[in-house]
Structure formats: structure tokens, C-alpha cells
Amino acid sequence: MTQTRSRRAGPDPSGLYLPRTARVVRAENLTRQDRLIEIALPEGQALGHRPGQFVQVSLLGYGEAPISVSSGPQQTGSFELCVRRLGNVTTALHALQPGDPVGIRGPFGNGFPMDHLVGRDCLVVAGGIGLAPLRSVIHSILARRERYGRLIVLHGARREEDILFRDEIAEWQQDPRNEVLLTVDEPTPGWKGRVGVITTLFPEIEVDPANLVVVAMVGPPVMYRFVILELRGLGIKNDQMFMSLERRMKCGVGKCGHCQIDGRCVCVDGPVFSGTEIMAMHEAI
């Protein structure tokens, strides 16, 4: 299995570090710390991303941050980012209102191997804000539902109020070909679902390992280690798993050095790596 290795550097290579001035179309809080920001590029330009790719978001005077695209490639005219408030840039991003300018570079990175999913079942494992980039995969599957097999989504959040895209999850569950299982670490009064870390969901699913691809997995590093063990228990091989890694990045184009893992740069060689690749990298997870 070979993964698409894209090294696209945006539409204008001479402007490698020059952001395009985009506009905020819509912004809404999803949780107390996560905000969904819909952005339109100038003159109706399409972002042209693949699920799993990211953009470098600039707020001049604050800096730049790499953020995964949360909407599917089928959405044209605008795209969405789900931003957690953590550092200087993301805190400033949370203050943006419709009409405000925002700088965009990219899309960067390789993205998930969507062609490989065609005709197969897909298991999505999303820990916390990991659902944001994986929503792009899910939207991509839902937009052409007939091309794909079953879609199983496992999502774990700290508390019920931290679960992202709750209205959408309810919609996904309408289709009998989709299954969504949720769990929380800390149940609040009234929570009727499952309790525990994301691996507690695995005994509840039945999969055919021969026809399954795990595009999944975005979450905290500790999650990967335990989820990989569960997947092995289900008979899923390393080259059937794809996971996106998070690293500090400055340039997004393989020059600044920050996101190196062993011989690779997460920004151009990743952020999506197969289980086989992850196992060969000393400090990946």
C-alpha cells in the first residue's frame, strides 16, 4: 500500500510564506474551549484540500498556527476550522467575528488515503479535538456514501459538554450504515452513555478485519499506544491503520525543522502516517 505523498506548497510557490487574506464567514462556539470558524478565501478561490490536510492560519501581530481543515473537500466556497483555545494565536482566533480578515497558507501535508477507503469499511477513532480533522474524512464519506462500506465512529471526550458536533453526530446516526459510539471520562448528571477512555468502546464493535481500514486516529499521544493494541486484538494490521500526528510547526513546508520525527517532517511527509511508518519511527508516539 502506498500513500499519496503530496508536497504541494500552495498555489503560488514564489509566495511560500505569504498568506492569502481570507475572511471569516461565520464563527460559533462548539464547547467552552472549541470554536468553529468558517472561512472564505478571496475571490471565491477554492482551498482544494484533501481530508487530513492542514492550513497555516495567520493573525498578523500574533503569529501563525497549523490547524487541520475540519470540513470536507466537497464544501466549496468556504472551509471550516475547529480551533481549541490554547496559545496566543488560537486565543486571538477565538475573538474573530464574521467579516474579519485572517491569513491562510496551504493546504499542506499529505492527508488521509481516501482512495484506499473506497469499497471498504472505515473505523474512525477520534479522541477529543481529534474529531475535528476526522470530520473532514467523515464528510467526504457521507458526500458519496455509496462508494464506501460501513462507517464506524468512536469518539471519546472528557465530559459530555466537550463532545464536538453533537447535532451532526445525531444526523450521522440516522443512516443505518453508520455507527457512532460515544464515551466520556467524567460523567455528569444525566449522561446515559458509556463512561471510560476510548478503548472501552472496542468490545462493543464487530468488524471484519479483512475489509477494514482504520483511517483514524487523531488524539492525544497516549491514546495511540492503547488504541493500536486494541486494533491488533481485532486482527487489524499496521498498514491498515492511518493516524495523524501533531507537532509544533512554523513553516509548514519542511524548512524550519520543528516538526521533524526521525527522518521525516510531519508537515510535508505527514501529518498522516500508516501504522507501519509509525512503528519504524523512534519518537513518533
Binding site: 510557490p13 488560537t90 480578515p101 492525544p220 512554523k250 513546508v253 525543522g257
Partner: protein
């Protein structure tokens, strides 16, 4: 490639012509006796008898701090013009440093070109001066980067008894030779033989520092180095980052925004992978929280086959600046010895 001879009494004439054609960066002695690569304005300023320069050529292609963008608080973005409109000739620079530039080229060129680096690089010509005698910290013979090179330079000059042997290594170097044919004559076989003799003698002048690069490459590539090696190096290293700033091939940078007047600038600065904050993410998660992990990452980038394959060669040129700069005992020579012993 062609070789020429430049008689001793015509060297200053040729340097004078280079000074009229371009900015010339050459070894220049400062009051303390140290030599720095600096712009020169007359042939007499060139320190032909130097051994090594304190700093490599990196800062001329990748400045320690440079403006990437200038922005106004309005909505229009504009790019600061960074294209250097002048040609630069790097004269009498050392072969280890020229090799260092070749490593930087692999990092900043390739499929995605860094426009700022490449703008400077395209207008640069490198005339190296082969070393007849190693300095005490040198180990370029271990790094496959000197004292004499077979390629990688535009021109390589060797000081013979009667003048300079000039070997051409690129189209740029040939064009420069063609432009000054009147001062040059084709090299005679005995002049080439004299150079080979000097090269052989130069290799016998190396001192105590060496670097077992092949052995270290194999162990790093195959992940055979026990964690204790890095922990021991971490006991020595004081995380000053000096080795990275002095290294001809260390090129990591960070990017910051700074407000200025009614707008601001986006700048990039050298960064060092040995710093704790280098890989720390906004969430607080640090994939290399341990000092030993950072040392491993640095030497892995320098010497692993994974990176050598990407860059065309490993990234140590044996200039020995990390040996001079290291306040402890965690430089390349010490590290490769530790890796080799396991």
C-alpha cells in the same frame, strides 16, 4: 573540468576585478587576531594565511534574523522585498564551509524552494581556498568535506609556490575563469602534481579530534544507540545551543511577529533543537521533554542515513566549530565517539 594557473603577482589584480564586479566576502582578520568572513573593499584585506574563520558562511544565506513579511494594520498585505540585487563572490573560503552550503542547498532547495534563501544563493559564487594545514579542532577528513574537494565548489584555489592553481567546478566557475582569461594560463601537469602533493601533506596535519562518522551513521540509522549514550551526553551538555549556531549546516528557524508603528513585521530567527521549547506545543505537550531526546534528535538529523539520503550526504563537514564552541563535552567528535562505543 578545467584547471588554470594564476601567477602570484596577478592575484591582487584578479581580486581587484572581482571587487569591481560584485560584493566580495573573504576572510578578514579583526583586532583580536580572529578571522571572520566579512565584506572586503581592497585585495590587501584578504587574510590568505588564515586557518579557519570563527563563523561559517550560513549567516550570509540565512541571516540570524530576517524580515519575511511587512504588514500594515489595514487589510493589505505586502511582502518585504528580500531579493538581494547584488552578486556576491565568496573568496578564499574554506572547503568545509562550501560543503556546508551544499548541505543547506539540499534543505532550502529541492521540490519546495525557500524563496529567501534561494534568492541569495543564486547570486552567490564560491571560490574556495584549499587548506594546506589543518587547525587544531579540524576533522574535515572524517566529514568528507576537505581539506581538498573534488567537486561542490565553483572554483577551488590551491596556493602553489609560484601562484594559484584554479580548478573549475561549475558553469559559474567557468564563466568567471573565461572572463579573466588574460590573467590565467592553462594549468601545467607539474602544477597539478604539486597540488596533489600538497593535498597529501595536508591530510597528515590533522590533530587529536576525529569523528567516527560511518560507525555513528550505522548505529543511528539502525536505532542501535542505547538511551544511556544520550543520557550521558545530556549530563555534559548545558543546552546553550552554541553548537547549532556555529554549525555550517544547522538551519532550524522560528518565526515571530512583531508590532511596529501602525503595522508590523514577521521575522524569522535561528532556533536550536537543543532548547526545551523547540518542540513544545501550545497544549504544553512536549514530544522531546527530555534533554537526552533532544540530543538524539540533533545527532540523528546530522548523521542518520534517513537524512543523508534526503540531503545527498550527512550533515557534518568536520569544521570543528562545535568543538571550539562547546562549553562541555557534547560536540560532534565527543558524540560520535560515544555513539561508536555505545
Amino acid at each position: 573540468m578545467n584547471a588554470y594557473f594564476l601567477p602570484r603577482d596577478r592575484v591582487d589584480e584578479l581580486v581587484g576585478r572581482l571587487l569591481r564586479a560584485a560584493e566580495v566576502i573573504a576572510p578578514k582578520r579583526v583586532e583580536t587576531g580572529d578571522v571572520f568572513y566579512s565584506p572586503v573593499s581592497s585585495p590587501g584585506e584578504v587574510a590568505w594565511d588564515y586557518k579557519t574563520a570563527v563563523e561559517p558562511l550560513k549567516r550570509f544565506l540565512l541571516p540570524q534574523q530576517e524580515t519575511v513579511l511587512r504588514f500594515s494594520t489595514g487589510e493589505k498585505l505586502r511582502v518585504e522585498p528580500v531579493l538581494e540585487e547584488k552578486d556576491r563572490i565568496f573568496l578564499a573560503v574554506r572547503n568545509c564551509d562550501v560543503t556546508g552550503v551544499n548541505v543547506l542547498d539540499a534543505m532550502f532547495g529541492g521540490e519546495i524552494e525557500d524563496p529567501y534563501y534561494m534568492a541569495r544563493r543564486r547570486r552567490a559564487t564560491f571560490i574556495s581556498l584549499a587548506c594546506l594545514e589543518a587547525d587544531e579542532q579540524c576533522f574535515c577528513v572524517c566529514g568528507d568535506a576537505g581539506p581538498f574537494l573534488k567537486n561542490g565548489y565553483d572554483q577551488q584555489w590551491t596556493p602553489l609556490a609560484e601562484g594559484m592553481l584554479i580548478e573549475v567546478g561549475s558553469d559559474k566557475g567557468q564563466a568567471l575563469a573565461d572572463a579573466h582569461q588574460d590573467l590565467l594560463s592553462p594549468a601545467e601537469p607539474d602544477q597539478v602534481a604539486e597540488k596533489l602533493q600538497l593535498a597529501k601533506r595536508a591530510e597528515e596535519t590533522f590533530g587529536e579530534f576525529r569523528s567516527y562518522i560511518a560507525a555513528a551513521m550505522r548505529r543511528l540509522t539502525l536505532a542501535e544507540t542505547p538511551d544511556e549514550v544520550w543520557e550521558r551526553l545530556a549530563d555534559h551538555c548545558v543546552e546553550c545551543g552554541g553548537c547549532t549556531f556555529l554549525c555550517p549546516t544547522c538551519s532550524c528557524f522560528t518565526v515571530t511577529d512583531r508590532l511596529e508603528g501602525d503595522g508590523g513585521v514577521r521575522e524569522r530567527h535561528w532556533d536550536a533543537c537543543l532548547y526545551n521549547c523547540y518542540a513544545r506545543e501550545a497544549s504544553g505537550h512536549n514530544p522531546r521533554a527530555e534533554h537526552s531526546q533532544r540530543l538524539r534528535a540533533r545527532f540523528f538529523h546530522k548523521l542518520s542515513h534517513q537524512w543523508a539520503q534526503r540531503n545527498g550526504r550527512h550533515a557534518c563537514v568536520g569544521c570543528g566549530r562545535c568543538v571550539v564552541g562547546c562549553q562541555a563535552w557534547a560536540h560532534m567528535s565527543a558524540a560520535t565517539e560515544a555513539i561508536r562505543r555505545g
